[in-house]
């Protein structure tokens, strides 16, 4: 048992009281196994990782508990002894590969750093070993990558380099804090493969922190579910996922949109995390629990149940087979009109946008001896043609960098396109000057990804929602307050929230305010740019349901941009798949989700970690695009697992009809593949 935590309690002193981040948490990681700690933001999962590493902030206090590593209590060790342990025997991989690496040091130096420090390697030997380590984590051109600076590498490569650095001093124990959260699904799948392989090869034990249940299902042998600083359930992963015992676990699992079963509404966990400054004596989940009864007010204990499993709920036994209540489908509304009788809300034709990354002297290069100005250009969107019918939801999926956000911005003229045309509600707005766009802005709105930055922190919720009403004079001045309350009600927030400032609300509530602001003008069309990807799973379901309700009630069309194809699949009538600025597949949701697929769609679908299957056949993308020598071929040719031959590199694939409402750009024959 390399690591075991016993009764660990950690508090943070904050203005206005003390937050109890962890309350008597006990965990253990057996040799060579992976324990996943699952929980939403505020559950204390990162605090567990930092406590083991001895990296807690100075405001933290540890009133009780012990952390044993190989029999020694870490909390009793001197800071110097802990420092020697850190990195050498217990290593940590942090969440964000974009900010953890030092931008001014070469990769190999950072990977080999620990060797010089812990193992007394010479600098030369450390660099040589770093190259081997980079090779071990699956980087083909290890020497070249080692010589590169972090900004020259993709997110997946950086995360590999970080893992290599963590492995450098041959630790036996690895702590991973959300190692794949910042990455695309295709890259995430690769990193998870790598971790599994390393675990097998080196016999590592791992503590894996994550909020993503699909990832946990894939990687972990055991799982501990954390809620408000308490372990509410623990046990072997497969059992916990297949027969969850604690109501919170049931809720989390029910809230995940599933590709296989598209429901009318997602199950959601109501309410919000309690105030960690004043903890109740009884069950901490009680206010949000649909099964709560009188015994829930009393202190709950983590009780063993059937050997390997433990759950903190008095009613767990009787609720064994109870399911999280599903939300019924809303009352049927008038069927949404077919797209033929009204003109499309949005129609784009061959829209393109190229960003110039370096201009002027920064673009100066030499061709032989001759200086030449070669500005570095990136084609963010490259000839995109789309239509969105009135009241229709078009899902737009693709990895980061595929141009989906730029396309959403370009349609709203927040970014000016270079070419093509954009029609909104029948009017050509491609070249309308900004000052004359007010009528279009009234009918086309936007909901942003990050609820923290999309609301002005100096304004109250009431001011934020009232502004569009005043700007477009939608209601007379005397009516504004009433309308604000009506809009708050529409997004299911109580009226008194009008006086709150954004920082007084949770992420999900802020996102509701963002939605209320967007629907204030009674728009016909809303660009939803990753509306739920910054939110916790339980909140995510509620926001997705809200978007579905608003679509049904207000008959508004969405362009739903997301990297998560399961969210898109749940809400969208039609799906467009984007790769490097181009739409590679486009059609009705059912048609896109079913074969035949474009090879890229197939990869995206197979990379989504699901909670229902522990493992299934996945298609792996090569890590780096083999850069096609000519700019004429298919954009995906360099990474395509189904590449036919030279034709992919040289001839642009034709857009072909795969069905009545289904088109894709690929050279492959369209006969449904047997897969």
């Amino acid at each position: 048992m390399p690591l075991s935590i016993e009764g660990l309690t950690i508090c943070y002193r904050v203005p206005g009281g003390t937050i109890t981040a962890l309350s008597e948490v006990s965990l253990s990681v057996p040799n060579g196994r992976t324990l996943a700690v699952v929980g939403e933001s505020g559950s204390g999962k990162s605090t567990v990782a930092l406590a083991v590493m001895g990296l807690l902030a100075s405001e933290a206090q540890i009133p009780a508990g012990r952390i044993f590593y190989e029999g020694a209590n870490l909390l009793a060790l001197s800071p110097e002894a802990r420092r020697r342990l850190r990195g050498a025997r217990i290593a940590m991989v942090f969440q964000d590969p974009f900010s953890v690496l030092n931008p001014s040091l070469r990769i190999a130096e950072q990977v080999g750093e620990g060797l010089v420090y812990h193992k007394g390697f010479s600098k030369q030997a450390a660099l040589a070993r770093a190259t081997q380590l980079l090779h071990e984590v699956g980087i083909a051109e290890a020497a070249a990558v080692g010589n590169a600076y972090p900004h020259e590498l993709s997110g997946g490569m950086r995360q590999r380099a970080l893992i290599a650095g963590a492995l450098a001093a041959e630790p036996e124990f690895l702590i991973l804090d959300e190692p794949t959260t910042a990455l695309d699904v295709t890259i995430e799948a690769q990193i998870l493969d790598l971790l599994e392989e390393l675990k097998r090869r080196r016999g590592l034990s791992m503590l894996f922190i994550s909020h993503n249940l699909g990832v946990v299902r894939r990687i972990a042998d055991e799982v501990a579910v954390l809620y408000a600083g308490e372990v509410v359930e623990s046990g072997p992963t497969v059992e916990v996922f297949e027969r969850p015992l604690h109501p919170y676990t049931k809720g989390l699992l029910a809230a995940i949109p599933r590709l296989a079963a598209r429901q009318a509404r997602l199950a959601a966990i109501p309410g919000r995390l309690l105030d960690l400054r004043q903890l109740p004596a009884g069950c901490r989940f009680e206010p949000r629990c649909p099964f709560a009864q009188s015994p829930c007010d009393e202190p709950q204990t983590l009780g063993g149940l059937s050997g390997t499993r433990a759950v903190r709920c008095v009613r767990a036994g009787e609720l064994m087979s109870a399911r999280w209540p599903a939300l019924g489908a809303p009352p049927p509304l008038a069927p949404r009109r077919a797209s033929v009788d009204t003109p499309p809300v949005v129609a784009t034709e061959e829209v393109s946008k190229t960003f110039t990354l370096s201009r002027g002297l920064a673009a100066l290069t030499f061709e032989g001896w001759r200086p030449a100005i070669r500005p570095l250009r990136v084609r963010a969107i490259d000839g995109v043609t789309l239509t969105i019918a009135s009241g229709e939801v078009l899902g737009l999926v693709g990895e980061s960098g595929s141009g989906k956000t730029t396309l959403g911005r370009a349609i709203l003229r927040l970014v000016d396109p270079d070419g093509g045309s954009i029609h909104i509600a029948g009017k050509d707005v491609t070249r309308t000057p900004q000052a004359a766009l007010a009528p279009m802005r009234r009918i086309a709105q936007i909901v942003f990804q990050n609820p923290d930055s999309s609301l002005n922190p100096r304004k109250t919720v009431g001011e934020i929602i009232a502004r569009p009403l005043q700007r477009f004079a939608i209601v007379p001045a005397g009516e504004v307050a009433n309308r604000v309350h009506a809009l708050l009600d529409r997004v299911r927030l109580p009226a008194h929230y009008a006086d709150r400032y954004p920082h007084q609300m949770s992420g999900g509530e802020k996102q509701r305010v963002g939605i209320a602001r967007a629907i204030a003008t009674d728009p016909q069309f809303i660009v939803c740019d990753e509306p739920v990807s910054a939110l916790d799973v339980s909140v995510q379901a509620a926001i997705v349901n809200l978007l579905a309700d608003l679509r049904d009630r207000l008959h508004v069309a969405y362009l739903l941009i997301s990297h998560d194809i399961s969210v898109v699949a749940y809400l969208a009538d039609r799906i467009a798949v984007m790769y490097r600025g181009r739409i590679v597949e486009n059609g009705a949701s059912e048609a896109v989700l079913a074969p035949p697929h474009h090879p890229y769609t197939e990869v995206l679908l197979s990379a989504v970690p699901t909670i229902t299957r522990a493992d299934h056949d996945r298609i792996r993308l090569p890590l780096e695009a083999r850069r096609s020598s000519k700019a004429t071929g298919c954009v995906f040719a360099g990474r395509c697992p189904r590449r036919i031959g030279p034709i992919c590199d040289t001839v642009e694939p034709p857009v072909r009809q795969a069905g009545p409402d289904h088109s894709m750009a690929c050279h492959l024959p369209l006969a449904p593949t047997t897969q």
Binding site: V14, L50, R441, F448, N450, P457
Partner: protein
Amino acid sequence: MPAQLKAGLAIVGAIVLLSLLAPWIAPHPWDTISIRTRFQPPSTTYWFGTDDYGRDVLSRLLMGGRLSLAMGIGATVISVLFGVPVGLIAGYVGGKVDEVLMRIADVLMAVPAIMLGLLVLAVTPPALWKTAVAVGFVYVPLIARVARSVTLGLANVEFVEAARARAESAAHILFREILPNAWPPLIVEASLRVTYAILLGSALSFLGLGAQPPSSDWGLMISEARAFIDRAPWIALAPGLAMCLLVIGINLIGDGLRERLDPRLKSQLARV
């Protein structure tokens, strides 16, 4: 509230209060000349001694505080009034407008501040308000620089984009959306500018281009005392120490505000 902020507020508050009450609490008239009381060292009658005209240094110090504070605050208000809009526009509009405004700012910043002040004052007869305007003008590019860098950070934040998606005017975006969020760093910068403005104003007075005798600006007092520094050092010492104390107080306020308003300090708790 950080301890620095409390200490700074206490020092500056005391100086402001004493200066405002100067006409009533000054033990002697500040401008009465008397041959018999020339060069009196500090005593129970004249706490800080008397100067070469026999005037009470303490009384002059209290009255002079008004001028120095008016100079510091007035000049800062002028620099903020002009610098903030310039910075907001440069940061938000960007492109050529930004280039032109910032190159002008660079040129102004390349000229030593005191030279620039001299230039403004040399063409007209000196007066205190002109000194304040000149000093304020000298600091416009500095405030503009700060306002611009804050605006650059805010111009692409999503709530500004939301305002653009509502077809808001540039004025609304600059003054209603961006400016309220830009205040914290600007206030810190402005509080430091007050200090520099007092010093620069005193320097100009010292050179004879600011307050004119017989008024008792601190810089002017030091200037006049220079000739007698070997015989009666207290005449220069009192305004010198007062200025040090005021500068320290304002700097403490600036540092305290920085600590209090810095969002990074709040985000340390976000990990919980």
